[in-house]
Symmetry: C2
Subunit: 398 residues, 2 copies
């Protein structure tokens, strides 16, 4: 069931333009919970972590959060000790404006790496950011986290727990630097559900495993990847500190919302013209399936062939061959949707290849690779590699 609005009881949102982005669009956003919310978070596995990520990693130990301040246009990454001080100062301005403790304010940034934040520009607008908070401000916050995204990516869902309606709203920004282990640069989820932080964290991890950790655009892993889930408990159902039936109901909703958000990130991948589900099955074990799937999904030759709508399945076999996964080249089958293009490692002939070519003309299709080595499988969502990807990334900073 889908609700039509992005209001969640007890949460307020805002977004303003402070001039970090050159085009004058919103670039500073705020999410505020009237009461301290339980928080769960997932962060980039990149060794190079942006300043706001470092800040959040400390604060999340407290398990509570009352505000998230986020900017786009500047990643505040590779900015040294100054960067960390800047992130702390911004969260402190927001904390003062809201009248909450510093340690309850989380931060997130996305944009260019290596340039210090324009602190004066930000300081001047913090009061406006706080004062314009509104239950209806959701889309303004969403706009303020977008960079090369071509459309806002939002999801909303409801469920019932012990007779109470529970709502969940999620936003994500993505587009570039998308890959496993937090493909999404930034995703924020707010809900009025009532769960302990430990349970929330476990549910978020499960949801991410099947969503944000399954998508890849270009194999890059950002310095800023952040997913935060805030739950303020206002729905009023009894709290729970373990995974029971109630948590199961919420988990389903959370997983579905995260999957939809993750897929929308791939669909809006930089320059993407195709949305591809890539399933490797019949693998010896899950690790092999994953390795094979990502190696094919990251192959520039496979991706450019998809862009060219060319059923060049040889490139898929070639990528499998150097993926490190255990394969027998003479036993591999490949399907484009339901059209077999490879059987036992060789092509199925021009007629089927022509039919496969028609599948590639679709905007969205599924590539299934059967290794016939075992019973494990893994699927990823990915895109083609287009001329526009190069154009966007060659001129990103100019």
């Amino acid at each position: 069931m889908r609700a039509l609005d992005f209001k969640v009881p007890g949460f307020l949102f805002s977004g303003v333009s402070v001039g970090i982005k050159k085009d004058g669009k919103r670039d500073l956003g705020l999410i505020y919970s009237e009461v301290p919310a339980r928080i769960a978070g997932l962060f980039t596995t990149n060794t190079v972590k942006a300043a706001p990520v470092q800040l959040n990693l400390k604060r999340i130990k407290g398990g509570l959060c009352q505000a998230v301040v986020v900017n786009s246009g500047n990643a505040n990454a590779c900015t040294g000790a100054q960067g960390l001080r800047d992130a702390e100062r911004i969260s402190s301005w927001v904390a003062r404006g809201l009248g909450v403790g510093d340690e309850l304010v989380f931060a997130a940034s996305t944009g260019v790496i290596g340039i210090s934040l324009p602190m004066r520009k930000i300081e001047r607008r913090v009061s406006e950011l706080v004062e314009s908070l509104s239950p209806e401000g959701w889309m303004k916050t969403v706009e303020s986290i977008m960079t090369t995204d071509t459309f806002p990516k939002v999801e909303v869902a409801t469920c019932r727990i012990k007779g109470k309606q529970v709502k969940l709203c999620g936003m994500v920004k993505g587009a570039g630097m998308i890959r496993p282990d937090l493909a999404t640069m930034l995703s924020f989820l707010v809900t009025d559900a009532n769960f302990e932080a430990r349970v929330l964290q476990r549910m978020l991890k499960t949801a991410a495993e099947e969503s944000y950790n399954r998508i890849t655009v270009d194999g890059e892993n950002s310095t800023n990847d952040t997913v935060l889930l805030l739950a303020n408990g206002k729905a009023g159902h009894p709290s729970s500190n373990r995974m029971g039936r109630d948590a199961g109901v919420f988990q389903s909703m959370l997983s579905e919302v995260c999957q939809n958000l993750a897929k929308s990130v791939v669909k809006d991948g930089e320059g993407a013209t195709k949305f591809i589900e890539l399933l490797v099955r019949g693998a010896r074990d899950r690790e092999d399936a994953k390795q094979a799937a990502y190696c094919v999904a990251h192959s520039p030759l496979v991706k450019t062939a998809f862009f060219g709508e060319d059923a060049n399945w040889g490139r898929i076999l070639c990528a499998l061959g150097h993926s490190g996964a255990q394969i027998n080249p003479n036993r591999i089958d490949v399907f484009f949707d339901n059209v077999p293009v490879v059987k036992g490692g060789v092509g199925t002939g021009p007629q089927l290849e022509q039919r496969a070519g028609k599948v590639l003309k679709r905007e969205s299709f599924k590539v299934t690779i059967d290794l016939h080595k075992g019973k494990s499988q893994f699927s990823v969502f990915t895109t083609d590699l287009s001329i526009d990807y190069v154009k966007i990334n060659a001129s990103y900073r100019s």
Copy 2:
């Protein structure tokens, strides 16, 4: 010292057009040694090996070779048992035409994967291929191995061993599917030097380690990669079955020729507009240096920034952060040629970045990354990722 012609005593060359390539250019080549030559070879590490590679892997055990037949336009890969039979039949036709044993004929193919060779077309022209062999035919063979290459890549060198002049000629085709572990799809080297096969193999391996295994265009590892070194002993210096001073002289020449050939492959990388040497130094160990270097060299975001001549060093740090190499983000230095753009993990400011931007406008430059973690280093040669790379690979088969 560079000689001007591509004649090597005792070797004959030819190249004809049999219609595998659609454009009517030469696509079948032959290298012939009047006497059985000692042979050394290196082949793809891809699990999916093309039929001619499988054939060569068997025959090289004999240590001798008298002919190499090579075609472009069709890789004879992923063609199953039929593909292996085809490779055997072609080598057998050539063996009969030359009056030598089948086991002395090696084969190589490059081109589209997954389509059976047009055997009739080839059979009809084998006699012409054999009859047109000539000491001056070198460039015809070179043409017949080119695919998306925009220029022929050849090297020639001489040295003196025990008072005898020794000559070495090398050719390579590359362009796409270039990466470590035999970046070169096909490279053939012929010499009149006199060394045992075991010594030759060791020298070839050493030379490849510093040349073909150091270059990367797009991280792909082909099904067909083949490097063959034929030595017929006609120079007349005493043979040697171990690495002595004579072998050292030859090794230097071989390494230099292979390095020049490898660099020319990168320069002619598909759509490449930049030639980049990427050095990682100060690494904990060589493996870390290698891992870091390749992760940066394969990053699409780094490569598109180079194409856009954008000194976006943040992307380099980001790539290092997810390379798996041991790094301390706060101790990394980065130089573009001799311009420091990052010191201790942070940018050196707009002035130096502007100077770095000018370095990127050059056709060829060096990126040095100092991890300050140890004393090991590794360098690779790579290219940018351009709009033309995508165009070439989206339409390769059409």
